[in-house]
């Protein structure tokens, strides 16, 4: 019997070699994980801090009740926030019903066939399409095609063509539909998940007492799915509120000194001179004598502007626009339930972008102030959605 080489036998009651090192690596990683999380959360803090620091002092009541102006000290976001609300109303009216119905269809009704898979592929792909491509589509279909009924729809009655020309083009309706299509996947997916979460017994109970499929869906599935749908709608709306690129594409204006809720007869927005079919001056050096009918501003072709009063007579270069400044009283008095859909508009993100791209430091201050308002609204909406989702998960136990 040979001697046993005991030097190679380790003490099995001791820790395996290197465990301390491996434990240390564990803790070391936790530090890195926390650090990465802090960088993410720190970005939010830095973002808010930067905006408050730059523009916080500009958040006065006057900022919300003034039109934009070439004088940054007087400029405000009145037309921008009114425009944003109107665009969002149009977006919601378009996207919520279609998104909900589509979600219900895919979850409750759709047969397993190629058409259904085509729809599902479309919904999934739409969610990943860059927003600016929605803008390009809107330019092609809503602005150029439907907005020029005289060119494409000559066979239709004139009154019909006129209302199409009023509604489409660079209008709130176009903006609303475009953003509505953009957030459609968000609402469809949220609806599907919410509807899927309603237990089968609810449907069977209703069907057993003789309800039709639609009655079951409408009265027994949708009500229970509603909180989930609302969460999706809020997130979609918040996304639409912050979207800039597609609205730049369809021609959201960068300088609006009127509220888009006045009636057409007010000559609220008029470009001077002989224009080509696209609205640009044919001869930029030509001028024209203009009688100003309303108090307001004139925006020159180089985008400087000056205040004008009713009764003034001015010599204006072609391509400049006269805008009457409509106050709240005028706006409310001339409210028309349909006209606003066809009106020119600006929105908060475009207003902020416009101010950000100007060189003067004072404009950057109001850009920051506008950004702060925008950020507050989006964070508020998303916070609500998060809370709603959290409470939903806690309260409903099927």
């Amino acid at each position: 019997m040979t001697a046993v080489d005991t030097s190679r036998v380790s003490d099995i009651t001791a820790h395996p070699p290197g465990l301390a090192t491996r434990r240390f690596k564990d803790n070391f990683f936790i530090v890195w994980g926390i650090l990465a999380t802090i960088i993410g959360l720190g970005t939010l803090v830095a973002l808010v801090g930067e905006l408050v620091n730059d523009g916080g002092h500009r958040l006065t009541a006057a900022f919300f009740t003034s039109f934009p102006s070439s004088n940054p000290a007087e400029a405000g976001i009145l037309s921008a926030w009114v425009g944003s609300i109107l665009v969002i109303v149009a977006t919601a009216l378009f996207a919520i019903p279609i998104g909900m119905l589509a979600g219900v269809y895919l979850e409750e009704y759709a047969p397993k066939n190629p058409v259904t898979s085509a729809i599902e592929i479309a919904v999934n792909n739409l969610a990943g399409v860059p927003s600016i491509l929605f803008g390009l589509m809107a330019v092609g279909i809503f602005v150029q095609f439907l907005g020029n009924p005289a060119r494409y729809f000559g066979f239709l009655p004139e009154s019909f063509r006129n209302s199409a020309a009023d509604l489409f083009g660079q209008s709130i309706l176009t903006a609303g539909i475009t953003l509505g299509l953009l957030i459609l996947p968000v609402i469809i997916v949220a609806t599907r998940e919410a509807v899927r979460g309603v237990p089968q017994e609810m449907r069977q109970g209703a069907l057993a007492v003789g309800a039709t499929k639609w009655q079951t869906t409408r009265h027994h599935v949708l009500p229970y799915a509603l909180p989930g749908v609302v969460t999706g709608v809020i997130i979609g709306i918040s996304r639409a509120l912050g979207e800039t690129a597609p609205l730049i594409m369809i021609g959201g204006l960068t300088f609006v000194a009127f509220l888009p809720i006045t009636t057409p007869g007010d000559a609220k927005f008029e470009t001077i001179g002989v224009l080509d079919q696209y609205g640009a001056a044919v001869d930029p050096s030509a001028t024209e004598t203009v009688h100003i009918a309303h108090d307001g501003v004139v925006v020159m072709p180089d985008f400087t502007e000056r205040a004008v009063e009713a009764g003034q007579v001015l010599e204006l270069p072609h391509g400049s626009t006269v805008q009457s400044v409509a106050g709240w009283g005028d706006a409310i008095a001339s409210w028309s339930p349909t006209h606003w859909l066809g009106a020119d508009f600006t929105v908060m993100p475009i207003q902020m972008f416009n101010w950000t791209s100007r060189p003067q430091a004072e404009f950057l201050e109001i850009a920051a102030a506008a950004g702060l308002v925008l950020l507050a609204i989006t964070l508020l909406l998303n916070g609500t959605a998060i809370l709603l989702r959290y409470r939903l998960r806690k309260s409903i136990k099927w």
Binding site: T37, A122, V129, I141, I188, A245, Y278, A280, S357, G371
Partner: protein, 287 residues
């Protein structure tokens, strides 16, 4: 009623077809006047000059550079956060941090543009100066960096979902063999969740490719062949927005060039969607 519901669902298909139709038909007008060869091989993009040249390459280099910077920021940070939240943090921490981080994706991009231009760029200028690098006021580095911060939640949230979907028994098996949490995370959980993680990264990437406002505000809008992130440059999206902001009439060749750029963007996005789909299939682990 079923017909109404079907019509609503069919809208999604109509939108996809609408986007493809508009982009293809308008850019075919562009390609009737500019050869595809020039579009793909020329390295100058100056549609707004007197002697216009239409080579998409400068815009593509701008897009790739800003996306690369964004991924360099978002992939490590996003995966660190995901692994930390999924494998190390307690449920309370996770339930608080995850939705808060998701707010990063909800911030309007024009606000991010402002942040990149007026906070990140001056900060980086100060940091890089000691190294002899003069960062211009407009550059793709800060645009890409902020874009990276924006897509952290996409990568972190979706990767975390994928890792949490890995069954508990696999972790328990690994722990029983004496592995630490970190070893389990990297050698068992992450490989099992790889298809979800890849999907998350590609989703973040296509967000970065399609992002417009951050680059328009902070990137400089100058279409040139970009070889370093410290240069200014234009992305495909930034060029499209820049033309839309100008006074070019619809229907001119220069205006139609945005549809050609849009077509390039569409193909790029579809390509990555396809790659993500393929990779997810290829590496799917089913339990």
């Amino acid at each position: 009623m079923e017909g109404v519901l079907f019509a609503a669902a069919a809208v999604a298909v109509a939108v996809v077809l609408g986007i493809i139709f508009v982009v293809v038909s308008e850019s075919s007008k562009f390609f009737a006047q500019v050869s595809v060869i020039e579009f793909l091989t020329s390295t100058t993009w100056t549609p707004l000059f007197d002697n216009p040249q239409y080579g998409i390459a400068p815009l593509l280099t701008g897009t790739f550079m800003s996306t690369l910077v964004a991924l360099a920021v978002a992939v490590p940070l996003g995966l660190l956060v995901a692994i930390y939240l999924s494998e190390f943090a307690g449920p309370r921490t996770r339930e608080t941090i995850k939705p808060t981080l998701e707010l990063l994706a909800a911030v309007p991009t024009v606000v991010y543009g402002y942040f990149a231009l007026l906070f990140v760029t001056p900060l980086l200028q100060g940091w890089l100066r000691p190294f002899g690098i003069e960062l211009p006021g407009f550059n793709l580095l800060s645009a890409g960096l902020v874009m990276g911060l924006m897509i952290i939640p996409y990568i972190a949230s979706l990767s975390e979902d994928a890792m949490r979907a890995v069954p508990r028994s696999m972790r328990e098996g690994s722990f029983a063999m004496g592995a630490t949490r970190l070893e389990t995370a990297f050698r068992v959980v992450a490989p099992a969740a790889v298809s979800g993680i890849v999907g998350a990264v590609i989703l973040g990437m296509s967000r970065a490719i399609g992002e417009t406002m951050i680059v328009v505000v902070a990137g400089g809008q100058l279409p040139q062949m970009v070889s370093s992130p410290t240069q200014q440059g234009a992305t495909v999206t930034a060029f499209i927005a820049q033309v839309a902001l100008g006074d070019l009439p619809f229907g001119t060749l220069a205006y139609n060039s945005i549809f050609a750029a849009g077509l390039a963007l569409l193909l790029l996005t579809l390509l990555f969607n396809f790659v993500a789909f393929y990779l997810q299939r290829r590496y799917r682990e089913a339990y």
